[in-house]
């Protein structure tokens, strides 16, 4: 297809990951009482960030390959 679906997915999770990680860093520790004392925003934010970045990496790698190889040879 013409749009690599991994691009928007990667972008969205990167943004949400950054937002959650940032919020985890500045938020009041008291709110983590319910999550068993774990700063879940920070840790899960990092997980989402890693996921988002790897999706972006896969999309850019595929894009680079498409450019390197002439038309109609993709699978």
């Amino acid at each position: 297809m013409n749009l690599d679906v991994r691009l928007p997915i990667g972008l969205m999770f990167t943004i949400i990951g950054v937002a959650l990680t940032g919020f985890g860093l500045v938020s009041d520790r008291a709110i983590y009482e319910r999550s068993l004392g774990i700063n879940v925003n920070l840790w899960w934010g990092l997980v989402l960030l890693a996921f988002g970045v790897s999706m972006l990496a896969l999309a850019t790698r595929a894009e680079r390959r498409r450019r390197a190889v002439p038309e109609n040879t993709t699978e």
Partner: protein
Amino acid sequence: MLLAELHPAEARSAAGASLSIPLSPRSPESVQLINLGAIDYAILVVYFAFVIGIGWALRRYVKSSEDFFLSGRSIPAWIASLAFISANLGAQEVIGMGASGAKYGMMTSHFYWVGAIPAMVFVGVFMMPFYYGSRARSVPEYLKLRFDEKTRGFNAISFAVMTVFSSGISMYALAKLLELLIGWSFHASILVSAIIVLAYIFMGGLTSAIYNEVLQFFLIVLGFLPLVLLGLKDVGGWAGLKEKLIPVATNAGYEASAWSSSWQHLDSSASNPMGVEWFGMAMGLGFVLSFGYWCTDFLVVQRAMAANSMTAARRTPLLAAFPKMLFPVLVILPGMIAIAVHTNSGGTLLPVGADGVPNYNLAVPAMLAHYLPSGLLGLGLTALMASFMSGMAGNVTAFNTVWTYDIYQSYIRPGQTDRHYLRMGHVATVVGIALSVLAAYATTRFNNIMDMLQLVFAFVNAPLFATFLLGMFWRRTTGHGAFFGLLTGTVAAMIHHGLTIPRGSLAGIKGGFLGPILHTYPSEMAQNFWTAIFAWTSCFLATIVISMITTRQKSDEELKGLVYSLTPRQPDAQLAWYKRPATLGVVVLGLTLALNVIFW
């Protein structure tokens, strides 16, 4: 009635499945469980922006009706397979499976490990060659090619009406839930979700729905996973959970392991909370209802039809089976944890009704509120919205295709240009969503009419798989056989439902409306399963008998590519072994068997 009764594999077939959930905002049990902060709204807004953005980015690729309705048959297998899961993963599945996990425990896994997975393997290995190979653009169109116009018409019209009401009812359920939990306006919830889904389907058609379903898939997994992990950590892992589920089972009068095992207590319907025994479960749910849904429902089959090759189309449900197999962890486990924590904390987690029964429908929302702080709470809520939207988009894209190709092009205005039908697709998208909104409002006012409609759909759908099975594997099946067999099955379902009743129910919508009650089932679920078994068997036998006494209208030549014995085998041998559908199917079934044994 429990939302769980609306699991998609059952939703369309479960007699009496309804959403008359006790969620009225003014009821005394109404509790605002969730308070959202700025970060939570921010996440929700980012998600909205991306789903609309995907539609926007794809709008210029929609040039023909085939692009709009079938993604130009250009979707790679992995994308189609994630969409295949997502389209069926509505909010009812997330909320309902959680509710079911709380109410019935581990037995809920049968919806996956006995129901969905074997059916997905069957559709991928055996049925997809006919759907994809015939170049039919929809499931009703396949029926037209294989049988005749009346069979197609019957299926197309009942399907179109059903999808509109399904999406309307789920819209109603979600809006009610959000009103109850967060205090959002019912009207605003309906309007906003309708407009967003409309926007992205209108611009990008099926491709946009599918791309968004992939995004929604990841969001649902990554949004609910932290909840599961925290819950499991809290109860002390699977071993701790099993222990904490013992009082849940013994309090209800069952054996200690009733909530933590899937098969052990299926020997008789009296020994498990679901009220079913192994045969009714395996035949009714496993065979009739699940195969009926996964193999014939255009909503899911459409995702595979959009794949970019025959092999990709066949691999779509097979690849989808791998993540699907693990979904019980994501959707059932939270409910089981909820009831364990609820019981062990002296009944404080879930809101309890006047009759002392906890509100199971709130199991997942209550878990979200219990474990997730602001931030992840927004992510969890966004995941819930995502599941709702993917389910709704699935209904809408299936509706606009069936309406345009099977009703409008076939009966109203045949022979127009492709541009004309593309425009009709856009119109049908708007109208389909408008009708869903109307259905959502109708649900708030006439609950009984909705219950009745769902019952009728259940009767129409229960026998459908018999028709497909005979049509695809027995070339002698005739159009008359298929059509009148379907009618017979539908009537049989109605008669069975009318003569039986679940224990403790009044005659009426729950059954027994024909007067004499010949049998009382221990639960609604048992009654549903047996209604399906009766309907399927009657349709199967009637189709055979009628086919024998009527003459075949289609020659062998016309049936090429539509019937198993007249279709050339798929040349799978040239594929790498791990890409062959049959190999994948065996691997999937082996893993599923292992899961059944582990959680026996």
